[in-house]
Point group: D2
Chain length 340, copies 4
């Protein structure tokens, strides 16, 4: 029974159906098709403000292209030290931006605190050495975070105010944005532009798409630069309708939110069973457990697949619930956790 | 009736079926799935030699990632002056390689001649100024070319020998590779590794996929560098099976070749009808016509959509037959051309 | 007797004296010294407008750093096809800018004509394919040109108007700017900001410095970006006074202009002697001669050193007069040329 | 009395004399002159092994060009968290390499310990996530370190063995290499190639030159790549003799070592006077003192100029002895420190 990653999941039938629906007749290429053209309207409705949105196929592309529009080659991008852009994208932000550097900030449970970020800004070498250092340019926040937790709107607002006050733009890595909205039960605007986010990677792949993410711009001034960078990076699709249609299917009838609510709910069952083993609050579809090596391997021996986490000797584990996870598997795992 | 571009076409039912077939159960991500793992075997069988192959989603990514493994930042990449990498990829080769520069070479009907390439090598500034100039590093050939023509195996061999003799590697942009094989009715090996090609962009998107191209390495030493560049550029897919499955469906039962044979055959009908208007031999699914502005607009007025080509006053046109082009449309166009 | 290049020359005594004068006492580093601080005033006085100026040590650095502030990574920089940035800087503009591409334009005697540039703008692929192409961003003009000729103020004005009208900034490679001013006997402002130049590489190395060029900004908005790029590229000097002092010595008492007048004058003697062999008007310190292989080698056999120019069979030669060229050598060469 | 930085110092008379001596007659440019050509012989003699050496004008250029030959764009460069390449070069290593990332390692007194480096290698994300992470490519060591301490040959050897064992190359930032050799009283080979260093930035600027550093390659395979990167970055000098001559003057008669011995000796006087205030062992020409804000300002009030160090409330200071520091100033400072 796999609890390895939401990237192991299948694609939603609704999204495959949207693909099939888009596969009728010849249409103009490179985005001049009705599916791609619907995205701006759909995202504008979703976020209750006029936005520009662009479909790409991977989270790394979405994040790095977004960040490259915000940070010059000599820019510093502040991010949590566990951020995906630091640990899992092979230096993509530096590649796309022409050299921008991450300024890593610690923070409990995967979240930056306003205090922590303020301190990082104050301590940044550029304060002392001026142009001998890279220059603060952007803040990247992950919602939901890498450790399965969710930022509250008020915290985001404070973080964005700090950033904007220093002339930084703010990007949000929303690979699991749906889980955050589902958890907070808030309007998507509350944790994006109303809080001060300038550009959002709105993830779909992990939550049911084949490979589709939207880059949503709340600041239209950035769009032209983005479009040229996207083309140049090979992330403008000739048959654009097939990426766009995935997003259309994902947004229609709130599929994105329904999937996220389901996985969040299943994860809560597991959280209850895990009890004191939890390393972080469970606010989405991911659990981080301090089991110790022995209990961890015992769990594995019962047929549960998951990734180890952290330094080997600590015996920690990460378990992820997929949108297509059978309830029976979750119950089996809950039982096993409770028995441990 | 659209004859705009093969990028306007739908996806093949066989490829959609392959997608659906791949959508069963949770599988490991980032290429550790059976579809991705089948690619090396399928391409090795196809090319009759052991190759390494990688699925990406756009031609720009395939070409630029391939070229970036061949050319250092101070490298020169020789290419036909009409090459897609020069005219339509917004400088992608420079982006992916960190600055490599195209050295453009003219050549009749979209093809480099061995003489032309030899001259370009001899005249390259590096010959006189040494390290004050960028250094010849790679040759990029397009098969089928941008002008609808096809290189013969013997010409490719001569070009590759010239390149290798000067220490250059050779990349092939095969966005329409299928059309070339169909036209020559040759073994795919004859116009790739047997001729000296080091890395091939094996296109599928224009010929029936949703968005899938394979980068095929005949030189395994280049693979590690490629893989890291691909990841870093956001072209490694978490749900890799959905790109790979498209290629599996495309290769199975020679779909790739059947589609190409059909479009090539239909284009021949048009070529006959066009007669003396043809600017270039028709060896694939593209026609380039010298109609003059008046006759061109007359054709358009009859309901045929296509792109203008070349300088406005010359009244030239490009017409492309898609894999899903109804025969009736082709016949209608042939009739119209014959009447012009 | 060497007529190879003005880079073979010694440094002027006045400039060495300025170095020695700057070598008194400890001073703040990285430009916080009186020599560096004098540059803005001296260049503002020279150009009769408030400028910002920065000392670097090579022409490649001056040009590429200037251009990188003007052109994004997806930018196109228009330049004459013989421009130094194309032929002799190993792709530096692409390196510094993160990938910007040169759009080469032909033009008689090394000069772009307004008509030629207008045509290049109109024919640029971006006009047809939009964001599939790199985007026109800058025009680079060389004054004096690579072929020893000089732009008139009126031509520069027309070229800059064309550029600005299309949203391009204009950079001037003034490695031999002094020779141009000396030839035109004009105010330096007339061929820079009054004509529309945004940033100038004001060369000193070829005309008597050890290694010093100033990047002069007539558009102060560009300065911050430039400063960070310069630092990051290793072209901000810790002991900045020793670059700045060279420029101070070069500007004081019009040394720059006196040297240029002398070399221009000596070159005129040679031009008269060369007569019909001249390939281009001699407007500075360089001569380009069509001698034929035989006469060229005969000249060489008399002890004159110079570079061959152009394709080998044409037998062309380039001869350069240095600031420290003994008059006797010039007379000897003039005699030899007259006798040929 | 300035104790701000060795970058505030004048140039040595011997080096100015070498410049003047190089200023005789016209010579070939771009390194084809006798001064530049002497460098390889002089450095080969100095290091007792055949080396290739290249003169550049800044430490940032020397370090970043060296590192860019060692690390691919997706490479990780291990360095001490206080390393100059991290804190004071505005992201230059990322710029020159096309995106390589620093992996920062803590270490007492500015030195990496073999244990600390081994741990950093073991903990590097690439160990767990493979190609999702940047790949260890190089180790950069600073000798003498940023905190005024010196690595022993045995420690360097251990560090280099660890690095080479993992396939990493090793670069040494020797901006103050002379001080390290003077302190250890060892053969320069002992702390470079005999310990395993592959490429060295051999600093001269801080120790008496106007602006000159040598990049010394103990691994000749790297040289061609370096030369092209240098040219392209604007760090190949047309009048190369004037950089090379500085290095010739610096090496002749052991000037480099004599200057370093003098400043090291003067710093020892200060170290004795400072006593318990010392934050780090004084092994070169730099002192780091924990004075507390009050005593620090008292010292400043007596006319001593120096930089604050570390977080403001801690009241720390850095004092640097220059090669041209009058003994009387050192004695005055020693007295003041003793009285504090």
């Amino acid at each position: 029974m796999q609890f390895l990653s939401d990237n192991t999941a299948t694609a939603c039938p609704e999204i495959l159906a949207a693909l099939a629906a888009a596969n009728r007749g010849r249409v103009h290429s490179y985005g001049e098709d009705e599916w791609t053209q619907r995205l701006d309207k759909m995202f504008s409705a979703l976020f209750d403000i006029e936005v520009r949105s662009f479909a790409v196929a991977t989270g790394t592309a979405a994040n790095s292209l977004g960040l490259a529009t915000l940070a010059p080659p000599y820019g510093a991008i502040f991010a949590h030290q566990e951020a995906h852009i630091e640990t899992d994208e092979c230096g993509a932000p530096a590649f796309f931006s022409g050299g921008a550097q991450l300024a890593l900030v610690p923070g409990e449970h995967g979240r930056l605190s306003p205090e922590g970020f303020a301190r990082a800004l104050a301590d940044h070498p550029s304060v002392n050495v001026g142009l001998h250092s890279v220059q603060p340019a952007a803040l990247s926040l992950t919602q939901m975070t890498e450790l399965g937790t969710v930022y509250r709107a008020a915290d985001l607002k404070q973080l964005c105010e700090l950033a904007h006050g220093r002339g930084l733009k703010v990007q949000m890595d929303g690979a699991r944005f749906a889980n955050a909205v589902a958890h907070l039960n808030c309007h998507p605007a509350d944790i994006t532009w109303r809080a001060g986010i300038d550009v959002l990677s709105f993830g779909a792949t992990k939550n049911g798409a084949l490979g589709a993410e939207a880059v949503v711009f709340f600041d239209p001034a950035l769009v032209r630069d983005f479009e040229l960078r996207r083309k140049r990076a090979g992330h403008l699709f000739s048959k654009s309708r097939f990426i766009a249609a995935q997003l259309v299917g994902y947004l229609e009838n709130d599929l994105w939110l329904r999937n996220a609510r389901r996985t969040n709910g299943l994860a809560q069952r597991l959280a209850k069973a895990a009890g004191a083993s939890l390393l972080h609050p469970v606010e989405g579809n991911e659990l981080f457990l301090a089991l110790g090596v022995e209990r961890r391997e015992a769990l594995r021996a019962q047929g549960f697949e998951f990734y180890d986490w952290g330094p080997p000797h600590r015996g920690e584990a990460r378990l992820v619930v997929c949108w297509d996870q059978p309830e029976a598997e979750v119950d089996a795992l809950a039982g096993a956790l409770a028995r441990l």
